[in-house]
Amino acid sequence: MKLTNKDLIKLYGDMWLVRLFEARVQDLFASGVLPGFIHLGLGQEACMVGTCFNLEDGDIIGATHREHGVLLMRGVSANAIMAELYGKVTGTCKGKGGSMHTCGLKEGALGNNAILGPGQAIINGFAYAHKFRNNKKVAVTMFGDGASNRGEFHEGLNFASVWNLPTIYIINNNGYAISVPVSKQQKIQDLSARAAGYGIPGVSIDGNDVLTVLETTAEAVKRAREGGGPSLIEFKTYRWRGHFEGDPTPYRTNSELEDWMENRDPIKNFGKDLLEREVLTEKEMKEIIAEQQAIVDAAQKFAEESEWPPESEIYTDVYYNDEGGAQ
């Protein structure tokens, strides 16, 4: 696949943006600043960045509560996401959704669905709409290894397969469903094998190599746009943090975590490649990181300075109004 240096530099910067944003959220939650429940995607940056690189205006992607980065990559502003996490009125959902339910429909980000499983059925509604309109757009659903054991996943795959929908199913297999290791969830090792049961292609790849992620999702997206139907892709990855912030992770060893952080860090490894291929210098890398850090700093400042929702907002956006949207 032909990528320009500009593309490669964008991928590098984007992964840093996701990481720095998540790291800031981690700190703010630990300090008691952020309310609610936080699940972080640290370590899984390549999955989000590589996938979203292939999406265009009009495409839609739905993910889980771990993918703040997907919203960032779809163009939802860091300011609005951070404000949502703070519960401020300037947030993506006016501060009512928090980390678990941020979204950016206008930008093609269906949002974070904290109910795992149903997202894999819901996405087909968007895919069917694309197909009905014949607009060559795709619908992507990104979820975890645990969700792939839910009934809705299988119903969704079957439906997408039978109707030949432009749906791309992406499993971020990060090794654990909350605390249950993959080996105790299912008897198969590669979750892509499930695709065979629905007559669609399935691929398992290294989810910590952003170029592998990008190349693979590019092919699935191209296939879906051209009417080839759905695909199932499994990214083998690892979450650096617990299932939720505060999870003491007694179910895994420190050496396992250290191995992934030291040897399979998607940003460090990609950065090494970029240096070797003379795409970037170390100085340029530091500048890119500083640029992304500034975006995160600004987002925090924006959120801190934003207003809390007024009391009058409590009962708005609760029910759907037949005459024109939520009320």
């Binding site: 590669d190 892509s192 065979a196 790849i205 190599d209 170029l211 592998t212 190349e215 693979t216 092919e219």
Partner: protein, 332 residues
């Protein structure tokens, strides 16, 4: 003692998406191992050592045989430093060589066997195909492979055992031998290793093959479609691609993916001959996987030799054994 190396990752890459490959599920690999072990047990093979893997293919087979067929095997996991990645196969093969294994049964594709070949020395291989582009390994029913493995283990004097010495390609970077390939070494203008597989012919610049087989898929099929060379011929083929030549050919470069390929020229490579590659920057793909990056300051040379791994000729071995009455009478 007999060795088993089964790759849990073979048969799953991007060629399921860009071509018409199907997932080779690991439970099928477990089943193949079950059939092999059943025959080995029946034949009285006493000692089997295996490489552990992330899916525990051999462990699952052993458990199934114990539980459902009351077959109890003395089987031992190799003591190597496992990282559950490609290099495990190299360490396992080296370990089996040091332990004097009679043969190694491998489950994988060309890529798996390339890694095993780097460590197995003269230990004969029985390579079973569970990969995507399979030129080196063979499609073989597990029980038949088990019989061949049993003969290899019991026939210490090699009265029946028929072996074939394979060729290999040696890849030198700046004067140092850095890797080998059993079937093909391909020079591509891709800049990064990424998803490893090759499926876009416009990025392929030069192809080196030990065998040029029109009855295969992948790079060997491209070479084989214009100038076939068999396993037994002591030569290979070098093909350079581009729009300036007058040869066009058509070949399946992945399962069901047929491409028109424009070729500028080709020539035989003799044993011990070395060829300087023409491409200035890119990646060398070995047996179907992008592996070695090189830049404008690197000198990459590829040579052919006949010191590849020894492979058991399963058909020839079993016929020879049968003619000598090996299978007659009561075995147990």
């Amino acid at each position: 003692m007999l060795g088993i190396i089964a790759n849990p990752s073979s048969g799953k890459d991007i060629r399921r998406l860009v071509a018409q490959g199907t997932v080779f599920d690991n439970m099928e690999k477990v089943n193949i191992i079950q059939r092999i072990l059943s025959v080995l047990n029946y034949a009285g093979v006493k000692e089997i050592c295996y490489m552990q893997d992330s899916y525990q293919i051999v462990d699952r087979a052993v458990t199934y045989l114990e539980r459902n067929f009351k077959i109890n095997l003395r089987i031992k996991e190799l003591e190597i430093k496992y990282r559950y990645e490609q290099n495990d196969s190299l360490l396992a093969a080296s370990s089996l060589l040091q332990m004097g294994a009679s043969c190694i049964v491998t489950l994988g594709g060309d890529g798996t066997n390339r890694v095993v070949a780097k460590g197995c020395g003269d230990t004969p291989l029985i390579p079973l195909s569970t990969g995507t582009n399979n030129v080196f390994p063979v499609m073989l029913e597990g029980s038949v492979a088990g019989f061949a493995a049993a003969v290899a283990d019991i026939d210490k004097k090699h009265e029946y055992l028929k072996l074939k010495q394979k060729k290999r390609l040696n890849i030198y970077k700046n004067g140092v031998l850095v890797d080998i390939a059993l079937i093909d070494a391909v020079i591509t203008e891709e800049r990064f290793i990424g998803s490893r597989a090759l499926w876009e012919p416009e990025t392929i610049k030069e192809i080196f093959v030990t065998v040029a087989k029109p009855d295969s898929i992948g790079m060997s099929a491209i070479a084989g479609s214009i100038y076939p060379i068999s396993e037994d011929e002591q030569k290979g083929l070098y093909v350079w691609l581009g729009n300036n030549g007058n040869v066009e050919t058509n070949a399946a470069i992945a399962p069901g993916l047929i491409q028109n390929i424009k070729i500028e020229g080709y020539s035989e490579i003799g044993l011990e001959q070395k060829v300087n590659i023409k491409t200035k920057t890119g990646i060398v793909a070995l047996d179907g996987e992008r592996e070695i990056t090189f830049g404008k300051n690197d000198k990459v040379v590829i040579g052919l030799s006949n010191d590849g791994p020894k492979v058991v000729d399963v058909g020839g071995t079993l016929v020879a054994a049968a003619k000598e009455g090996y299978f007659k009478g009561r075995w147990r």
